[in-house]
């Protein structure tokens, strides 16, 4: 990477922040759980056992078992796949849609800008989760549709952020110079404008992953995400809600997993904000 200087400095600043590094470690653990689930999970996450229904945590089942005798620990391990996948895929969708739209709006201005901005406002006017629920409802309940719904709902933030960054740097002399040299607009966008928008986009993307993980869990909790019997932390909590007085362990672990992963992405996002943009401190 040619501009290793500022990125290297940012990494050094990030490394000094203990909370961000701890968060990074937790995220790494979850990624490892997701990738190595077949080997790490002690039991089959969808194997039911009528002799082990709602058993409290024990040596055989560290996190206990659920209402049809499945091992909660194995389901939590496998559930990390749905959560991380949803986080990554939906934020990628949001970036792939939002950044080009933001660039277009910011660079072209005029009618295009007005159109994209009002469209963005319209999406932002619908509360994030309610829009995602409506989209997931019309698309049909499945994990991939939930990811699309969350991705689309998260797009407007990236449009706005990219547009604002473009407007900031558009007036800089070096962009003017690049234009004077006869560079085509797409090249100016790619080589001169986008690199300056990367830092805030990385921060926002990290925080958006946290939001997407909660959103996936929420949709699955409502039955609009991962479909049974495939494990997802949200749907595990939905089942747990019905047995709260008899089997509280069913509710504790998946919730703790969501909380841990979301908290880590939030801490990482905050750390990145400080590391990439020291002025904001």
């Amino acid at each position: 990477m040619r501009d290793a200087g500022p990125w290297h400095q940012a990494w050094r600043r990030l490394r000094r922040r203990r909370s961000a590094m701890l968060a990074l470690a937790v995220v790494a653990v979850f990624v490892a759980l997701a990738l190595l689930a077949p080997w790490l999970s002690p039991q089959d996450p969808i194997a039911t056992s009528w002799s082990a229904i709602r058993k409290p945590p024990s040596a055989a089942h560290w996190f206990g078992t659920d209402e049809i005798g499945r091992d909660v620990l194995s389901r939590v391990v496998w559930g990390s796949r749905a959560s991380l996948l949803a986080g990554l895929v939906s934020v990628s969708i949001a970036l792939l849609l939002g950044v080009p739209l933001g660039l277009l709006a910011g660079l072209l201005g005029g009618g295009v800008d007005a159109f994209i901005s009002r469209l963005t406002d319209a999406f932002l006017a619908c509360p994030f989760l309610i829009l995602a629920i409506a989209l997931a409802a019309f698309l049909g309940p499945s994990l991939s549709n939930a990811m699309v719904a969350i991705g689309i709902s998260a797009t407007p933030i990236f449009v706005r952020l990219t547009r604002a960054q473009v407007l900031n740097v558009k007036v800089e002399a070096y962009v003017e110079a690049a234009r004077a040299l006869g560079n085509p607009p797409w090249r100016i966008a790619w080589r001169h404008v986008l690199p300056n928008a990367t830092a805030p986009l990385i921060v926002q993307a990290t925080l958006a992953v946290a939001g997407a993980v909660i959103a996936e869990a929420s949709l699955s909790f409502l039955g609009l995400g991962q479909q049974p019997p495939a494990p997802s932390w949200g749907s595990m909590l939905n089942a747990a809600k019905n047995y709260i007085d008899q089997a509280p362990w069913m509710a504790v672990w998946p919730g703790l997993a969501i909380f841990g992963l979301v908290l880590s992405f939030n801490l990482l996002g905050d750390g990145l904000r400080d590391a990439l943009d020291p002025r904001q401190r």
């Binding site: 009002r118 319209a122 309610i130 629920i133 409506a134 909660i214 919730g255 969501i258 909380f259």
Partner: protein
């Protein structure tokens, strides 16, 4: 002032137009013939024919949109396919419940978020700052349906202090109403308290570095007076207006919280509608929510404007 409002209104109208197109467009996402899907499992030909006619499905898309929008403007959001009730009536029935929850949640969020933000700003970099930041992170990172379940476990199952589910209207029995809503309101408020704390902290930090604060201090005023009277008053304006925009978070949160606590509000309405494939209700709820949000942000803008004489130039 009027000029500013007119300009904002000129922005808001196209936004609302797009919102309506977006919500109408949701119908296009349904795979296959909407009338067949909307008719449910029975596939009664009479129902399908009725739906075809009612939704003008034989007309081209723009004409259908015009019909739908015409209805919306006359206050006709369609009718529920399950209960045949007008969607607007359903919304009118359920909204007050959620508004009660939202109002209580907002009070709780203010009560936690603003003091935490003041403490964090005044003791910037100290242990207090870290503690307040931890409270904010907790609020932002906790899935509210999980917190709801845990609170039921503690306060209803273990301690037996509060009902685990259900709703009582405050007009029937105020005490029972509070008991049935305090947990969900806390869960909702907790999520916003963190956001309010962060807004308060940064607004206070900005105000505290202003010259007039130094003046107030040099006059020999008590630190408490300087902070609570001179600084807070100016810092609160942006906090309240930004806080008002958290209505979206509140309504999103209400969907889950009402599900956990079985509260028959706005959120439960949309979830039940989704499961009954009652698409007109889903569309109606989203439309009402978005319109309310746009109206509220217009009001928040106006409040911000009124409180900021500098903007009037």
């Amino acid at each position: 002032m009027l000029d500013f409002l007119l300009r904002r209104l000129a922005q808001v109208l196209p936004t609302l137009l797009f919102v309506s197109m977006l919500i109408f467009g949701l119908q296009q996402l349904l795979p296959g013939d909407p009338a067949r899907i909307l008719a449910g499992e029975e596939q009664d030909p009479a129902v399908i024919a009725h739906l075809r006619e009612r939704l003008h499905l034989d007309e081209p898309l723009p004409v259908r949109y015009a019909y739908w929008m015409g209805g919306v403007l006359r206050g006709d959001l369609g009718e529920s396919l399950r209960t045949q009730q007008p969607v607007l009536d359903l919304v009118r029935q359920k909204l007050p419940v959620t508004l009660q929850l939202a109002a209580m949640a907002f009070v709780i969020a203010l009560a936690i978020g603003i003091p935490a933000g003041i403490v964090a700003a005044v003791g910037r970099g100290t242990w207090w700052d870290s503690l307040a930041n931890a409270v904010a992170l907790w609020g932002i990172s906790t899935p509210n349906f999980w917190l709801g379940i845990l609170m039921i476990l503690l306060f209803s199952v273990q301690l037996g202090w509060l009902p685990a589910s259900g709703y009582v209207s405050p007009f029937e029995d105020l005490k029972a109403s509070l008991a049935s809503t305090i947990m969900p309101a806390f869960v909702l408020g907790n999520a916003i308290a963190g956001v309010l704390m962060r807004h308060t902290r940064s607004a206070m930090l900005q105000v505290l570095s202003a010259d007039y604060i130094a003046t107030a201090r040099s006059k020999g005023l008590y630190e408490r007076t300087v902070i609570l009277k001179h600084a807070l008053r100016n810092a609160l304006t942006p906090v309240i207006t930004l806080g008002a925009l958290e209505l979206g978070t509140l309504l999103s949160g209400a969907v889950l919280t009402e599900q956990v606590f079985s509260i028959p509000g706005f959120g439960k309405l949309i979830v039940d509608a989704v499961f009954n494939r009652d698409y007109a209700v889903v569309q109606g709820v989203v439309l009402v929510t978005a319109t309310a949000y746009v109206a509220l942000s217009l009001l928040a803008d106006r409040a911000y404007f009124a409180a900021n004489p500098k903007l009037r130039v």
